[in-house]
């Protein structure tokens, strides 16, 4: 039986030769992400902003969004977002943070319930007070930084500092792009988005470490091979693994995205994107960045690539 193989066994794709393009491409994308971040801003959910979110389900037929919007505006609660959510009966209400303290936020739920009474089912209610939301945002940022630091230390111990730095650069790249995605599409950024980002960090690093592991092995084996050639060899050797694992993970995530329900849709969407970006970055960012980080790591003829890179595997 012939097995499905995405790549032939002896790929010699000159990834390093493309590094200028990939750096340029990623650089431009990252800048665009920053621009998007500062122009559109993040659509921060109530977790980080404070306020109220309610999911209601109308009992008598599909929801009349216009009518609900009108009723909500009648409450004088400031900006209220009314949007359908999955099934036509389901409506998501987002009410901005009320002036005042925690008690004012909590009071909103009662007001909304007074308007709709028993005509709807209250599927979900979330109220976050102003102080808690600030803490949640702070914890989120600290968490991402802590994870980065922890990983940096681990990679440093297991490899060398160049790898550690390279891994962090690649990971930061993934974070920036994911945040850019949130800004461009105005996906709601909440606690689960932080969870998604941390998972992306984990996945992307998992990938990067596998490639690095092979690079380290190659270095021990072929002490004289120029670095770019060695990196190409390592990536090519791990290519099937990298793509196969990305594919199984994407299959699982796609199932979650399509069938997992509305509540976690933006969460799984972010992770789908993150797995793709993470796979890309371990090949096109994490590995080639090593060339720049330390010429010594590269051996004597490090700065040259091109012909030699192609010839190297054969020589070895």
């Amino acid at each position: 039986m012939r097995h499905l193989r995405l790549f032939p066994d002896d790929t010699a794709i000159p990834f390093m030769r493309w590094r200028k393009f990939s750096f340029l491409f990623s650089g431009i994308l990252s800048v665009l992400c920053f621009v998007a971040y500062f122009t559109f801003g993040m659509n921060t959910g109530i977790d980080f902003q404070g306020g109220t979110l309610m999911e209601i389900q109308t009992k008598a037929g599909p929801a009349d969004l216009g009518d609900i919007r009108q009723k909500m505006n009648g409450l004088g609660l400031g900006e209220v977002q009314v949007q359908s959510f999955g099934a036509p009966e389901n409506v998501l209400l987002r009410i901005v943070r009320q002036p005042g303290g925690d008690a004012e936020q909590v009071a909103v739920v009662g007001k909304v319930q007074a308007v709709f009474g028993d005509t709807v089912e209250y599927r979900r209610t979330e109220v976050v007070g102003p102080r808690v939301s600030g803490e949640l945002a702070q914890n989120g940022i600290i968490g991402v930084l802590l994870a980065l630091a922890g990983i940096m230390v681990y990679v440093w111990f297991r490899f060398e500092w160049q790898y550690s730095l390279g891994a962090v650069i690649a990971t930061l790249h993934d974070i920036v792009l994911t945040i850019g995605l949130f800004a461009v599409l105005q996906l709601e950024f909440n606690l689960s988005s932080i969870a998604a980002i941390l998972t992306i960090i984990g996945y992307s690093l998992n990938d990067t470490v596998v490639v690095y592991d092979r690079i380290r092995e190659m270095r021990r084996k072929y002490k004289r091979m120029p670095l770019p050639a060695m990196l190409d060899l390592a990536i090519n050797q791990t290519l099937t693994r990298t793509t196969n694992t990305a594919l199984t993970t994407l299959i699982a995530l796609l199932a979650l995205y399509v069938f997992g329900g509305e509540v976690i849709r933006s969460f799984t969407f972010a992770m789908l994107f993150g797995v793709i970006v993470g796979t890309y970055s371990s090949i096109f960012i994490a590995a080639p960045v090593l060339i720049f980080l330390d010429p010594q790591l590269a051996g004597d003829k490090s700065e040259d690539e091109g012909e030699e890179a192609k010839a190297a595997p054969a020589k070895a």
Partner: protein, 537 residues
């Protein structure tokens, strides 16, 4: 690498059998579990998070300012009493201001004595943490010329607040238990916060009302001679205060500031029906000390009204018809059966030592929870089928091995979650599905290595052996990075996010276990049986 000692094989198989046994109760109903499942077998089920079974998550914070104000008011009273002791010390301007009780002693001769009496009020608190060194709750500040200020010490205040939170947790637990909510969880969160999680609770408003009420019950004599109009404008006879009734519109009452009785004098409270009108009331019993006091007061004040006050609201103000000496009484005041019951619950459970405010509230209806479980299950099954098909197509027989390992992995994940009694949340299900996708990574790593070794011309057995050896280090390194991220998620996350971190962590650990032991065992058995000359990869 392909040799397994007998005890190792036994251990691996035993782990899987134990995993299956731990898992089975999850498929049984509570009833079946009780009747048909032998009780010497593990009988626990996975704990579903609030987002999956519906329920209420409430984060409360102790109103520190309110507590301080109350405590200082009490201290002011103590200071007054101390100065009036024989021999009396003359003072002026006894007030609470800027977080301190202050007063000016008039007579210079008495400064030393006054300071001594104030020092007697600093209230040393035992400090178990610091090995018995006492901390004073208050400090006395001598501003000169007879002006004294008493304020909280930092340690004293934080220790007090700690106790307030502990006490509040106790009171909340009693109240929630009385409501019959199933398995509520009430925990301290940070210094001044309390987290209440009530799974399955359908009426968050009532729960909030019950928990949030301070429920400070007091009885006060009503000052019938006071002029109500003046009182509303703020002119009150000394030693009295103005309270409103619960009615709409509220009725004002002028009552004596010092309470006759407080909730602490109560030993029991029950909802009942008044015999004549059949109206719901709350009946209460008093402690021995309380009934003695109550008997004395009611004897002295026949025909005067007294106010029953709950959290600064007058519930009712009955007139004392005759001395009440048997140590029990009734509170009436337009109750419904439910509100009478709620008040009785509150009185039985005792008062909160300070006001609590909700700072975060998350409620999930049971309908949404059920939908989420269904969606999660559907996604999980479809995801697993997709991964299984992909692995079969890519690796054939070895793909089948990987798929068997994946199933074992799923069994172990759920078994560990059941054993740990970790809470399964919707993001937790997402974590498991994600792990499913990533779980085969170890197999992919191993298989690709074996292929490489084989292509280098090694024999089947050597290729398999080196493949496992080489992949092992990579698997560990790659997974530890994900573990670090999951660990951070667990530390900073709350509720569902934490559930995600737990399942991700468990998933990574079981994946490493199955890849390193189970897959290897299966392949070793296959090698021994078939003696292959080439690995079909």
């Amino acid at each position: 690498m392909l040799y397994f000692s007998r005890w190792k094989v036994t251990a691996i198989l035993l782990t899987i059998v134990v995993g299956l046994l731990v898992l089975v109760p999850n498929f049984l109903t509570a009833d079946q579990l009780q009747k048909n499942w032998p009780n010497w077998l593990p009988g626990r089920q996975i704990v579903l998070g609030l987002d999956l079974q519906g329920g209420v998550y409430l984060l409360y914070e102790v109103d520190t300012a309110d507590y301080q104000a109350k405590r200082l008011k009490g201290l002011e009273n103590d200071v007054r009493i101390a100065m009036r002791q024989d021999p009396r010390i003359g003072y002026t301007g006894l007030t609470v201001s800027n977080g301190a009780v202050q007063l000016r002693v008039r007579d210079a001769d008495k400064f030393a004595e006054a300071k001594k009496r104030l020092d007697g009020l600093v209230n040393p608190l035992s400090n178990a943490l610091l090995g018995g060194t006492a901390v004073s709750e208050f400090q006395v500040e001598d501003a000169g010329e007879g002006l004294y200020r008493m304020s909280f010490t930092e340690e004293g205040l934080s220790q007090r607040l700690g106790k307030v939170v502990d006490q509040s947790i106790e009171v909340i637990r009693r109240r929630v238990d009385e409501l019959g909510t199933t398995e509520p969880s009430i925990q301290r969160q940070s210094i001044s916060r309390i987290l209440v999680e009530a799974p399955g609770e359908k009426d968050p408003a009532r729960l909030k009302d019950i928990i949030g009420r301070t429920a400070q019950l007091t009885f006060h004599l009503v000052d019938v001679n006071a002029n109500l109009e003046d009182a509303v404008k703020g002119v009150l006879p000394p030693g009295t205060m103005l309270l409103n009734s619960r009615d709409t519109p509220p009725r004002p009452y002028v009552v004596e500031e010092a309470p006759l009785l407080t909730g602490e004098d109560l030993t029991d409270a029950q909802e009942a029906f008044q015999s004549q009108t059949n109206e719901p009331v709350v009946s209460f019993r008093l402690s021995t000390g309380g009934s003695r006091k109550f008997a004395q007061v009611t004897t002295e004040n026949v025909n005067r009204p007294f106010a029953i006050v709950l959290d600064d609201e007058v519930i009712s103000a009955p007139v004392i018809r005759e001395p009440i000496t048997q140590g029990s009484g009734q509170i009436s005041g337009n109750f419904t059966v439910e509100s009478a019951n709620d008040l009785a619950v509150l009185l039985r459970a005792g008062a909160l030592p300070a006001r609590l405010g909700v700072v975060e509230e998350r409620t999930v209806g049971p309908g949404l929870g059920a939908d989420s479980i269904a969606a999660g299950q559907r996604a999980a099954v479809i995801g697993v089928v997709g991964v299984v098909v992909f692995m079969l197509a890519s690796y054939g027989l070895f793909g089948l091995f990987a798929n068997v390992a994946l199933m074992v992995n799923i069994v172990l994940i759920f078994a560990v979650l059941t054993l740990l009694q970790a809470t399964l949340t919707l993001p937790g299900i997402a974590g498991i599905v994600l792990t499913m996708g990533m779980a085969v990574d170890s197999n992919v790593l191993i298989y690709e290595r074996i292929r490489e070794e084989q292509r280098l011309g090694r024999s089947a057995i050597t290729a398999i052996d080196t493949g496992f050896q080489r992949a092992f280090g990579t698997i560990v390194d790659a997974n530890i990075t994900t573990l670090i991220a999951a660990g951070v998620l667990f530390q900073l996350g709350s509720g569902p996010v934490r559930g995600f971190a737990v399942t991700l962590t468990v998933g990574i650990l079981t994946t490493m276990f199955t890849a390193i032991t189970f897959t290897r065992l299966v392949i070793a058995v296959w090698v021994r049986r078939t003696r292959p000359t080439a690995v079909p990869l």
